[in-house]
């Protein structure tokens, strides 16, 4: 599903990624762990096509995304990637339903079709009753479930999660962990960047430990 070959990312003289090679198989759940500044989030940005490596290649489902232009990358993100953020990154001006539908609408999906899919996801994530609420009135756990629903809207091959439980209390964190586990069990490929060992232990098939921009260890469960 994902192959990184000798990926380097340098900011001036600092190497955020110092020659990382990593494979993620379809249906696998991989947790990337490490201290702050170890390069975890940079790795996620490379795979999401939000940032470009200084050298090396990132191939997702057979496509080398390092060769893509900005518009191609945008299309790649729409079709192949779903992203879940630590701070949710919902649009405050839009109600829950519109936030979730947005990903499909940017793809050109007709409104009715997008609405049906969004309602289906909100139902599955048990948050359909909050569809008309604005993000500002939701709890952290609810917001993250909306974020997950939005990420799954276009049926992505790969779900990338950046500290998905980082801004949640333990109860809400548990709910999100269950959610991710359920998704993986029905075949969703996951790549999770986290500090949360419980999340890694519970959800990931494999844990990749990062240190100073390179893979320090890999543990397969």
């Amino acid at each position: 599903m994902v192959q990184l070959k000798d990926v380097r990312k340098e900011y001036g003289e600092t190497a955020a990624l110092a020659g990382v090679s990593l494979d993620v198989q379809a249906g696998e759940a991989v947790a990337v762990m490490g201290p702050s500044g170890s390069g975890k989030s940079t790795l996620l940005n490379m795979i999401a096509g939000l940032d470009r490596p200084t050298s090396g290649t990132v191939v997702v489902r057979g496509e080398d995304i390092t060769e893509m232009g900005e518009s191609e990358l945008a299309r790649y993100r729409r079709r192949r990637i779903g992203m879940v953020f630590q701070f949710f990154n919902l649009l405050d001006d839009l109600p829950v339903l519109e936030n979730v539908m947005l990903a499909a609408q940017l793809l050109g999906t007709p409104r009715k079709q997008a609405q049906a899919r969004a309602m289906e996801l909100l139902d599955e994530l048990s948050i359909a009753d909050r569809r008309n609420a604005y993000p500002v009135v939701l709890s952290g756990g609810e917001r993250q479930r909306v974020g997950v629903a939005r990420a799954l809207m276009n049926r992505p091959a790969l779900l990338l999660a950046d500290e998905p439980t980082g801004a949640l209390d333990s109860r809400a964190g548990e709910q999100v962990m269950d959610l991710l586990l359920d998704l993986n069990q029905i075949g969703q490929t996951l790549l999770i960047v986290t500090h949360d060992e419980r999340l890694a232990t519970r959800v990931a098939d494999r844990v990749v430990a990062f240190e100073d921009g390179h893979v320090a260890a890999e543990v397969t469960r």
Binding site: S41, T42, N45, A48, L50, D51, E70, S71, A74, R75, Y76, R77, R78, R79, I81, M83, F85, F87, N89, L90, L91, D92, D93, L94, P95, E98, L102, A103, Q105, L106, L107, R111, Y134, V136, R150, N154
Partner: protein, 765 residues
């Protein structure tokens, strides 16, 4: 204070772009204000100054020498109210013949007043000055007035012969601030003086002539106000619209500065919090924000002063050259001081409200918020837009302005002023062109064929000919005018208006009637229904004024064929052809040809020339003053539209900064750069449309207020139709100009938003 200064410097460095915008906006505003104020003062100032220096005459009277002696006339100098007097000077109205006497093009044919006088530095009234050469002291010498004739060469040494065969050699060019004569000769050189000219300075400059001339045979009199009006009206015509532009420029500057400063407060919440955490008092925080705006404002205003002075200098000098203002100088220092202080006061006042607001924000709120609250507004609008069939980036963009209504209102206002300026300028341009078309008959007269009485030309039935009118011109003298008056008549049906647009009264219906331009009434002090006596080579005609029309030159007279011919010895119809062909420049009779639709005037003229007939396309003459006014309109419109676009630019910078995270989210969801661009441009297009819809009526109203004021200053009364020059396509274009201004201002920051580094903005959360 040092801390405030340092913090302000830091804030300025962080906001280089917005700092530049403030500087640029103030540059343009100050330049406009200086130009407007400068011209306002300059056109009046030099004349009054020169009038005082040269002891100009408040009243100029010509007495009939056949009915009073020089001694009797001179005694009027001691009448009550007269503080000083000059004269009597013998004067004569002489005539420059249409041909023969002078070199072609040297002097305009027609009458002029010549006075026997030598300029002396100690004359008590109307001290004459020499522009070049010397005064006439010997027989056969003449000095011409600089306001009478313009020479692209030095005319000294050339000869001029008047009707009657008297030849003079030009020895100098002089100037009278009172415009007391068009030429001067040495005492005793006039062969048949017809006037004794007295020049008076009065205790009450506005005192009626009758109090001085009572009991004396005054043939004509003229107040200095008439020559003052003639000397300054060209510059004054530009003032109403310059004032309008100056005010609009200041209002837009206020809007943009308010937007910039409140935007800086909104986006600088964390900065404010940090300042307060460091121990800055509310007053110091307010000071930081005031200095942040005032410093670039001072720089921009200083640059604006320089540019405004240069522009005002160019305009006044050009006007001076064009209209023979006594002296044309730049802007006086007090105008600079007033403009600089006024604009800066506006800046400080505008910045004060958001700056005080910044000072009052509690530190904890500022630090914890990181960005000002304000999201979540107008959610209903967003929801309603989401339900439309518009592409999602468009509906998202259209909803953005509702999140910050204050900023949106200021941006719409800036665009509205830009559109108002464009609409106003377009209207002004169309009115002026329409005026010229009506005054110069450019839509009625397409081809002009000069003829002389020896060779009649028939164009009737010629392909392309719709109508042919035989016209005749003459230069006549009218009391109260210091220059020859243009008189024109048409042969044939007296009731045919030949395309002239009436302003007041009616067209000619019987011989002995006249239709004049409104400036003629103003200068002569006449009104419709009055009679006026015109003279030419001793012949007189009395005409009754029955109406006013738009006429070329403003103070022209239109009369019937017989009345015009009664002043000369011409036949009433062209005579049989002679062997010689037409000689352009020697004739004052023309055929004015109206062509059938679709006929090219150039082709028609070419065909006539091929047949040996001299002809020309009717030229659209634009006077230097009009060129300056049109140039200023274009310049200031561009300036104001640019300032409005800068306002939009600033808003989009603020919006994209506020919305950076949202754009990052959109990109993370797969929005292409073009879709992000669409979001930003759609939001600004909506503002542009709103600004256009508001600016259009503003521009039309400004046109309806300023155009008549300009015309009034020039002594012209506009007919109603000249104000109704906004057809719907022009209105649509004006509204579209709002969208164009908005999109133009948004393009660069929108492009930046589209290229936003998603990872960075999402990570910064």
């Amino acid at each position: 204070m040092k801390a405030v200064w340092q913090a302000a410097q830091f804030a300025v460095r962080r906001r280089k772009l917005q700092t530049s915008i403030i500087a640029l906006v103030l540059l343009l505003s100050t330049a406009t204000v200086v130009l407007a104020l400068g011209l306002l003062v300059t056109v009046d100032g030099p004349y009054d100054k020169a009038f005082a220096q040269q002891h100009g005459a408040h009243l100029m009277v010509s007495y009939d020498p056949a009915k009073a002696t020089a001694a009797q006339v001179a005694a009027s100098a001691s009448r009550p109210g007269v503080t000083a007097a000059g004269g009597p000077y013998r004067s004569q109205i002489v005539n420059v013949p249409e041909t023969g006497g002078t070199e072609p093009g040297m002097l305009p044919p027609g009458p002029l007043t010549v006075t026997e006088r030598t300029g002396r530095g100690d004359d008590p009234v109307d001290r004459l000055t020499l522009k070049s050469g010397r005064w006439a002291t010997a027989p056969g010498e003449i000095v011409l007035g600089s306001g009478y004739a313009r020479f692209p060469f030095d005319p000294t040494g050339r000869k001029v012969t008047f009707s009657g065969g008297h030849t003079f050699t030009i020895v100098g060019i002089g100037r009278s601030i009172t415009r007391s004569a068009e030429a001067w000769v040495a005492p005793g050189q006039l062969s048949a003086p017809d006037g004794l000219q007295m020049l008076y300075r009065l205790a009450d400059p506005a005192a009626p002539a009758g109090t001085i001339t009572a009991g004396l045979p005054a043939a004509s009199s003229q107040s200095y106000l008439a020559s003052r009006q003639q000397a300054t009206e060209a510059g004054k015509v530009a003032i109403p619209f310059l004032v309008a532009f100056g005010i609009a420029g200041l209002v837009v500057a206020v809007l943009i500065i308010g937007n910039v400063v409140s935007g800086a407060v909104v986006s600088g919440f964390r900065h404010i919090g940090v300042l307060k955490a460091l121990g800055f008092s509310p007053t110091q925080v307010t000071g930081v924000y005031l200095v942040m705006v005032t410093a670039p404002g001072v720089l921009g205003s200083l640059a604006g002063l320089v540019i405004g002075n240069v522009l005002a200098g160019v305009v006044t000098t050009t006007l001076g050259d064009s209209y023979d203002l006594p002296t044309a100088s730049g802007v006086s220092v007090w105008v600079d001081v007033l403009a600089f202080a006024g604009v800066l006061a506006v800046v400080v006042f505008t910045a004060l409200v958001p700056a005080v607001r910044a000072g009052r924000i509690p530190a904890a709120v500022a630090v914890s918020a990181g960005a000002a609250p304000g999201r979540g507004r107008a959610l209903r609008v967003q929801r309603a837009l989401a339900r439309t069939r518009l592409p999602r980036p468009v509906s998202l963009g259209l909803g953005l302005p509702f999140a910050r209504p204050g900023r949106t209102a200021m941006t719409i206002s800036a665009v509205a002023f830009g559109v108002a300026a464009v609409t106003f300028a377009a209207g002004l341009d169309r009115s002026l062109n329409s005026y010229l078309a009506d005054a110069e008959l450019t839509e009625t007269v397409h081809v002009v064929v000069p003829i002389d009485d020896r060779r009649p030309i028939s164009l009737e039935g010629r392909p392309g000919t719709a109508k042919v009118a035989l016209t005749r011109f003459d230069q006549v003298h009218v009391p109260g005018f210091d220059r020859a008056v243009h008189m024109k008549a048409y042969q044939g049906d007296i009731g045919d208006r030949h395309g002239h647009r009436m302003v007041h009264g009616r067209w000619l219906a019987a011989p002995g009637e006249a239709v004049v331009g409104d400036p003629f009434l103003k200068t002569s002090g006449k009104k419709i229904g009055d009679t006026v006596v015109v003279t030419k080579d001793g012949r007189k005609a009395t005409l009754r004024i029955v109406g006013t029309a738009l006429v070329d030159g403003g103070d022209s007279v239109l009369t019937d064929w017989a009345s015009l011919n009664s002043l000369g010895d011409r036949k009433t119809t062209p005579a049989a052809p002679a062997s010689a062909g037409p000689r352009t420049g020697m004739v004052t009779s023309f055929l004015e040809v109206t062509l059938t639709p679709g006929t090219s005037p150039k082709d028609y003229v070419a065909a006539l020339k091929a047949d040996g007939v001299e002809a020309d396309t009717a030229a659209e003459g634009i006077e230097p003053g009009q060129v300056i006014v049109l140039g200023l309109i274009a310049l200031l419109t561009l300036g104001l539209a640019a300032v409005a676009a800068l306002g939009v630019f600033n808003t989009v910078i603020l919006n994209t900064r506020d919305r950076a995270r949202d754009f990052g989210v959109l990109k993370s969801l797969g929005a292409t750069p073009r879709q992000v661009l669409t979001v930003v441009l759609a939001s600004m297009a909506a503002l542009g449309l709103a600004g256009g819809l508001i600016g259009l009526p503003l521009g039309v109203v400004a046109h309806h207020l300023v155009m008549p004021a300009m015309a009034d200053t020039g002594g012209i009364v506009l007919p109603y139709g000249l104000m109704e020059i906004f057809p719907w396509p022009l209105m649509v274009l004006s509204v579209l100009a709002g969208i164009a201004i908005a999109l133009l201002g948004a393009l660069i920051p929108a492009g930046r938003a589209a290229r936003i580094r998603t990872a960075a903005v999402l990570h910064s959360e």
